[in-house]
Symmetry: C2
């Protein structure tokens, strides 16, 4: 199994990326192919005494910055670590690609370089989010701001396969993010999508769910257009982050409250771990013709190592092939 | 000042409503008019030794239930406490109306009975939400699932007036809820709305804000279509609620952690108060031709008392008249 990794994507590149690749190669028995400036990778590894034994490098002199226009990945930045890595995946030089770089660039690059699975209308970004029950997959998280009901139907199908294959969820509960649980709730898009989804016999569609119930774990796959999904993803992070600031301030108030913090340290640590996005793995880009995992921009070595393992499992479980089969079946039925 | 209150709206009606009205009449010097079944109101007050001195009653034998179809308020339930109260407002028998009943029914009832302010295309539900800085107004929170850019422009204008008049916010920072801060971000509706909002010279439009920054207090008025606003409102509640369950469980673990909870009790209580929706007041229904305040369905006496005070301030500050003036100015400019 060969996993290609963008050595220059994310805030902590290349050091944390290289460290994560080293750990993944040692722990999961995969061959890691780093895409990026060969000299810089080698000198960074040397300076930090990281062995590159068994790791391969594909030279890519450029880097696409987080704030660059995503389309540059297929225009002026064809020699960037991201574009070169994606091309290597498209050329069959590896089984999956992992990057902590710009989500926009990765989505565009994957769509144009790796290309869509035949029949998939729009690739979607999935994010695994924590809940008080088990984690769930939210998609689309921002690849497509404007969507149709048919797009949402494909997101549901792809999310279903991902949670079944990757998370070993037996019969994922697929739900539509809506403003009420009744069948008739929502805007025009939700009305259309509900009608389409309730007629899908290859998914376990449980109907509409309200945003209020989502953090308590009311479904395994949550379907949304990319605008709504992105709002939900970021508000999830935002509210949790803002609350934690408040809780920390309560503990920091005086000597007594600081002592109190010591007493619940274990519980808070467990909880933090459960909520930790690096524990959730990266975001799969579903619908492109290869395994593409977007690791968080702030990924450290551990997050990169986990994302590589995630990529490996997706490749082993043939997530892409299964999506392709399902899309083909759909098309055959439609004919 | 006369405030009409729906005595049979919400989970705790009529007892908590009557208690809240009593407190408001005593504390704010307003005359409260209760709409609802006269006999039931009187017997409830008697049983609980609440004086109805100075409180008026408009008899309304029916009740519209939380799960009833909203349109019933203007069809089969014209004699409900909500419909009768709204009619009294429309007839000028009071200066404002407060209800803890169904949001859908209240929106529909207010729109058809109290009617829209001339020129307002769609009334919007505003909700005041807490942030790590100061509270902000989110609108529309669900009155209109499908919106146009022009609707969003009017929401911005009405929200601006509400925060200026009611919350005494000098120059409210009005922002568009979006999936990125750059001007070009978002779906079709956001692109159109951004262009319309940036050309409004009667509001302080600060541009797009990301959902991630919202809980930290990045704006005073957050503009969204009713679908997105409702998702945000409920996810806000949901994530905060789910996190608090976790925090509570951490404290409940053993004797030591319970002792720890005692030590931070004061801080947690202050924090809880700051986050308490009953402290934020009810949700104003903006754009209808009268002050209509939707109190939370689970409102207790305190929340009802606060909502009555909120209604009083809105009436005193002439929120409805100011919105009407602004819409008229807009129309004059357009001519």
């Amino acid at each position: 199994m060969k996993i290609i990794v963008d050595a220059f994507g994310g805030d902590n590149a290349p050091l944390e990326i290289i460290k994560g690749c080293r750990a993944a190669a040692d722990d999961f028995g995969v061959t890691v192919i780093l895409s990026g400036d060969e000299e810089k990778i080698k000198s960074c590894a040397k300076e930090n005494s990281i062995s590159l034994d068994g790791l391969e490098i594909i030279h890519a002199p450029d880097v696409i910055a987080m704030d660059e226009n995503p389309s540059e990945v297929i225009k002026s930045k064809k020699n960037s670590s991201m574009a070169v890595g994606l091309q290597a995946l498209a050329d069959g030089k590896g089984d999956a690609f992992v990057s902590a770089g710009s989500t926009g660039a990765l989505t565009m690059g994957a769509t144009f370089i790796v290309k869509r699975i035949k029949g998939v209308k729009r690739p979607a970004i999935g994010s695994v989010l924590p809940s008080n029950d088990k984690p769930f997959l939210l998609l689309d998280c921002g690849a497509n701001a404007d969507c149709t009901a048919e797009h949402l139907r494909q997101f549901a199908m792809m999310g279903n396969i991902y949670m079944n294959k990757f998370a070993k969820c037996e019969k994922p509960r697929v739900a539509l993010a809506n403003i009420g649980t009744e069948d008739s709730k929502g805007d025009r898009l939700r009305h259309e999508a509900f009608d389409v989804l309730k007629n899908c016999d290859n998914i376990n569609f449980i109907g509409n769910v309200e945003a209020r119930d989502v953090p308590f774990g009311c479904c395994d796959v949550l379907v949304a257009d990319g605008f709504t999904g992105n709002i939900m993803l970021k508000l999830y992070e935002g509210v949790a982050g803002a609350l934690m600031v408040n809780i920390k301030n309560i503990f920091k108030k005086n000597a007594l409250t600081m002592l109190s913090a010591m007493m619940v340290k274990g519980g808070l640590k467990d909880f933090k771990k459960r909520m930790d996005s690096s524990e959730m793995g990266g975001a799969p880009l579903l619908g492109v013709n290869g395994i593409v995992i977007k690791a968080h921009g702030s990924s450290n070595a551990k997050a990169i190592r986990n994302a590589i393992n995630q990529a490996k499992i997706c490749a082993e479980m043939n997530v892409v092939g299964t999506i392709a089969e399902n899309v083909k079946k759909d098309a055959d039925i439609a004919e």
